[in-house]
Amino acid sequence: MNIRCKGGKILPFLIAGVLSLNSVSSILAQQASLIPSSRLISPEELAKVLQSPKSEKPLLLQVGSHVLYSQAHIPGSEYIGAASTESGLQQLRKRVESLPRSKFIVIYCGCCPWNHCPNVKLADDALHAMGFSNVKVLYVANNFGADWVDKGYPVAKGD
């Protein structure tokens, strides 16, 4: 197999190309903006669901940083771990494996602006791969502080 061209070896370029493609696919796998809008829930909608006595209450899972969770989280939500890590994803699967696949689940993070969040897309993908059909992802445009705490929605702190 000829892997040379006029300018010299092309193998390094091929390797660089493959690595770049891997990086791009890795970034795309985490891209929160690729989550279909039908699977999103706004902070306002979620606050209404939590306040309404008649609404079905979701299982709330925080799939981001523990330091941020300790400072402020949605009351009743459970800390799972960063879904961008293998241990976080394992913890997520373990937490939900025994639940009915129709269970209403809301996942959220809020560590970073939406398009930079490394966690929610992977968590959403994992739940859908397990067959969960009633999963919503909290759309946090900027961060949890600006889009939830500062809006005056319910907050708890601690572990």
Partner: protein, 180 residues
Amino acid sequence: MNRKKLLIGAIAIAVAIGIYRVERSPHALRPAAHGTPAPDFSLPQLNDERLQLSAYRGKVVLLDFWATWCDPCREEIPRFVDLQRKYGGQGFQIIGVSMDDGPQPVRDFYQRFKMNYPVVMGNAKLGELYGGILGLPVAFLVGRDGRIHARHIGATDISVLEKEIVSLLQNKASPTQPGS
């Protein structure tokens, strides 16, 4: 019967409102205000030596809350390394506060990006001291007097930050005493 239902409904709404109010953070997180002293702290660095913020009184300090998993934070690091190299000799010091859950990824990152300023491991208590660090990155610029002069939320415009640093470096006023 209808009255009874109305009454139950009204009670349920009142209880829901009550719960909502109680659950709202009783200690609303307030951002550390401009002009107020930067809250002091002593935290372990990546090499386990402790770093005390007040030991840097007299320098202009950029306190950068970041994490290795945060894209905008990572993008800022090489620029911060440049700023530290450029202004370190004039009394400028960057202190990174990692909000990662553990130090190992931070140590790896520190080596890989050849970071030239100290990094401490932050925690929820420190975040609350600074008004709640509930999104990253967040950077506080602290003057030679130990007071907060600027707070940048999200990716920082480096040119704006550099102007602020230069301006604060030019202020040679002797540092005020803690608590003043």
